[in-house]
């Protein structure tokens, strides 16, 4: 795998991509294909590949490569594309700041802090994990509390275990994968506790990681207190009522030395905030147009930095779009602006992109708020007229819904806004 590119860096680049995970690497390739000459990809790790490097399980790439790959294999495939080209990749480096003139404050091993000018920026920093504080679990602050991703890193890259007897809070995909991984390593995984009445991870992970290993999944139950002075000694768990309030009279203690937290990801939005980009409060990522451009010209974003994806294949697709757009922007060939705003309606938490154009084909990604069977996805204009409807067998918050929209569909629609609903079918 690539580590650091030893060449001297240029003082200016057409496109600077922040992050060399799947999003950043795909975007870099696409930017070059679209006409950008000088591209720099920056990553803080010593190896490119992003979080995929520690995801040694398989299940990646069915859409993108038509076969099931492990995380490192997927990363290698994408990286191979980059290596073939004249793209600068600098690892073990860090983008400290990007100012409004797109001047990048970069830290590298070779040169320390330096300033680099970029015509376009692609933000592809990925996501961070939500911590115990995000859900205010009271109790003590002992050693032995890990996010699932951190435990994954320890086990898969360092050959170390986070503990001997673990409780998992949250049923996010990384947590489910780790329940299986730790079980295989001989750690006793006592159970998975999920606040919601349904699991938060993909169904295939529930089956393959919990059911196949007899790990109990406690729905509508959460950790309400952490105990232990030096190291975790036990956690108190309690069922929750319909309003998600813990029922303390039904609480019980679970002895363990480790608490793994897998309660979701948040876009890594340090740079997005420094750039004062408009942020969608639902995704916590920047608001983007149909070309993945943010609220500041020449700044594009893709992957988990925009919204949390469940499949890397969709990250790749989104990143290719962002990279292509950045390349065209640099070449002065940006398409006309969007003319339709998308408004999340019933049972839709958010839509990405936030705006579209009636002139082009789009893939719209969205997340629903609650599970629903035999429903339909409707696009409605502000007058209440249904412009488009698609039947869905079921929706699930854990599974991103995507909608391919051809320009013909919006042929009769004029400038304005469209409400997006995922609701029970009108015909019952």
């Amino acid at each position: 795998m690539i580590t650091s590119n030893p060449r001297h860096l240029r003082g200016s680049y057409d496109v600077v991509v922040v992050g060399a995970g799947p999003a950043g690497l795909e975007a870099a390739v696409a930017a070059q294909d679209a006409g950008a000459d000088h591209i720099l990809v920056v990553d803080r790790e010593t190896e490119a590949g992003g979080i995929l490097v520690q995801c040694i399980h398989s299940g990646f790439g069915l859409h993108r490569f038509g076969q099931e790959l492990t995380g490192p294999e997927y990363a290698q495939r994408v990286l191979t594309q980059v290596v073939k080209r004249n793209i600068d990749v600098v690892t073990d480096a860090f983008v400290l700041d990007v100012d409004r003139e797109r001047r990048v404050k970069l830290m590298t091993q070779e040169e320390g802090v330096s300033l680099i000018d970029a015509q376009a920026i692609v933000l592809a920093m990925g996501a961070r994990e939500r911590t115990r504080a995000a859900i205010h679990i009271p109790g003590t602050r002992p050693a032995g509390i890990f996010t699932a991703g951190m435990a994954q890193r320890l086990v898969n890259l360092y050959g170390l275990l986070p503990g001997r007897r673990a409780v998992l809070l949250g049923s996010g995909d990384i947590g489910l994968i780790m329940a299986r991984r730790l079980t295989l390593e001989g750690v006793e995984v006592v159970g998975v506790f999920e606040l919601m009445p349904y699991a938060n991870g993909l169904n295939r992970n529930i089956v393959q990681c919990l059911h196949d290993f007899d790990i109990p999944l406690h729905l509508s139950t959460t950790v309400v207190e952490i105990h232990g002075r030096d190291r975790v000694e036990k956690v108190t768990v309690a069922p929750v009522d319909a309003n998600l309030r813990p029922q303390m009279e039904r609480a019980w203690d679970v002895p363990c030395d480790t608490l793994l937290i897998s309660i979701g990801l948040i876009p890594e939005n340090e740079l997005s905030e420094q750039l004062r980009l408009r942020i969608d409060p639902m995704t916590n990522g920047p608001v983007v147009t149909s070309t993945m451009e943010c609220s500041r010209n020449g700044v594009f974003a893709c992957g988990n930095v925009v919204h949390i994806h469940d499949l890397v294949d969709f990250v790749s697709a989104e990143a290719m779009l962002a990279g292509r757009s950045a390349g065209r922007y640099v070449a002065g060939a940006a398409p006309p602006a969007d003319n339709v705003r998308l408004l999340p309606g019933e049972n839709v938490a958010y839509c990405v992109p936030h705006t579209i154009s009636t002139e082009r084909e789009h893939t719209i990604y969205m997340r629903t708020r609650r599970p629903l069977e035999a429903c339909s996805l409707r696009l409605t204009d502000l007058g209440g007229k249904v412009i488009y409807e698609k039947k869905l067998r079921y929706v699930f918050p854990a599974e991103m819904v995507n909608l391919k929209l051809r320009p013909a569909v919006l042929h009769h629609f004029h400038n304005g806004a469209l409400r997006v609903d995922v609701a029970p079918r009108a015909d019952g």
């Binding site: 830290m107 320390g112 504080a133 009271p138 032995g144 170390l160 275990l161 002075r229 340090e270």
Partner: protein
Amino acid sequence: MLYDVLIIGGGIVGGAIARELSRYELRIALCEKEVEVGFGATKANSGIIHGGHHAAPDTLKGRLEWAGNQLWDELAAELGFGFERIGELTVALYDEQTPVLDRLLHHAAVKGIPGVELWTPERIQQEEPALSHDIIAAVYAPTTGVVNPYEACYALAENAAQNGVDILTGFPVLRLHWNGELWEVMTPGARLASRFVINAAGLYADQVAAMAGVGNFAIHPRKGQEYLLDKRLRGLVKRVIFPCPSPVSKGILIIPTYDGTLMVGPTAEDTTDREDRSTSAEGARTVFDAVRRLAPGINEKDIIAQFAGLRASADGEDFIIGPTARRGFINAAGIQSPGLTAAPAIARMIVEILQAENLPMTLRNDFVGRAPHPVHFAALSTQEQIALTLRHPRYRRIVCRCETVTEGEVIDAIERGASTLDGIKFRTRAGMGRCQGGFCTIRCMELLSRLRRLPMTALTKRGADSWLVCERQEAVNGDERAPGIEVGDA
């Protein structure tokens, strides 16, 4: 080992005393039961250098609060820890509270504290627009400052060590015995002897006093829960905001910490357990209900960390400082708020007490009061960062992305004495940001492991049984492979 003075307790008070005494020709030791200094009440302190006008002038607290306040600028400049006088407002929400404001103004007048004045609601809104419109008046004090209490404690202890004080961490005192000439101090690893013993044992000061045979007071732990908020709220409130205080507590505050992030708290809960540093759902409710009355824009969803500390309050609620019935045994006990503020003044008071007790005190001519200031990369300008990283490659890698802490700063911290993950965190801020160590924990562990030549499995969060990771099972249990799997010859 024979000492002139042995200090029990390595919190901010013990640290300040050690550093002040290190100016003199004395053999000094400081015994701390935890693996690092500052790991008790100091670590969870709110970090406020009080304006000087809160405690009544006729109490020891009241005298030392203002005396201590005035010593912090020089200390911070000499030792290179962050300190800024950001000012404070004590706000009244009801007419019944205005006598409290009058009392604060009176204290300020009696003590001669400059710049303390009454603000109108208009002035308050102009200067602090995030505060509630229900506030009817406030007392402003420009003298209030903020520090990182643990940074100050490390700086004091390190400077004391530089000047010859033995800082003995992991040295709990088990017994004290006066042999007619000296105090014999028994610890698990060593027997120490000293002419004088200073009791700065915080939560355990009553037990230490009892060991010396002068157990005539009790420490009543009072828990305080604090909630640290996301840095996106930086600047929302510019000064420390106090409600009108009650008799037992200064109430729940909004504190713009030295690093700029907001912290809210603390609660005041009497407890009997000296090790109970747990937070609770009720505590969070109490804090945020109170804070919303002061600044409606602050709420729970911005919490990035929560913790609790225990105040070492004594009977009578005043400090207990002075010689005792046992010769050579001196108390610096019952140090609750404003103990951090008062600490440098307490240290000077201990010097006077030792002089009065006829310990010969000669100023050293080789005392080094200025310590090298630790690098704080995030606080440097771009030009300074370029210059630093050009000269020193160790600062070219970011370890903690949330707080922009470099590898060099973590290495510096370890070289200065950090031996645990918390020791690194409290010296450098690595792991204190919004991701709470999700990214940097393993990197810090790797650096600790490399520099201390310890396996990762031997590292701890804060000593004792706070182990972080363990070996894989096969390495522990030997060659126990699953049955049925043939292991071929290599």
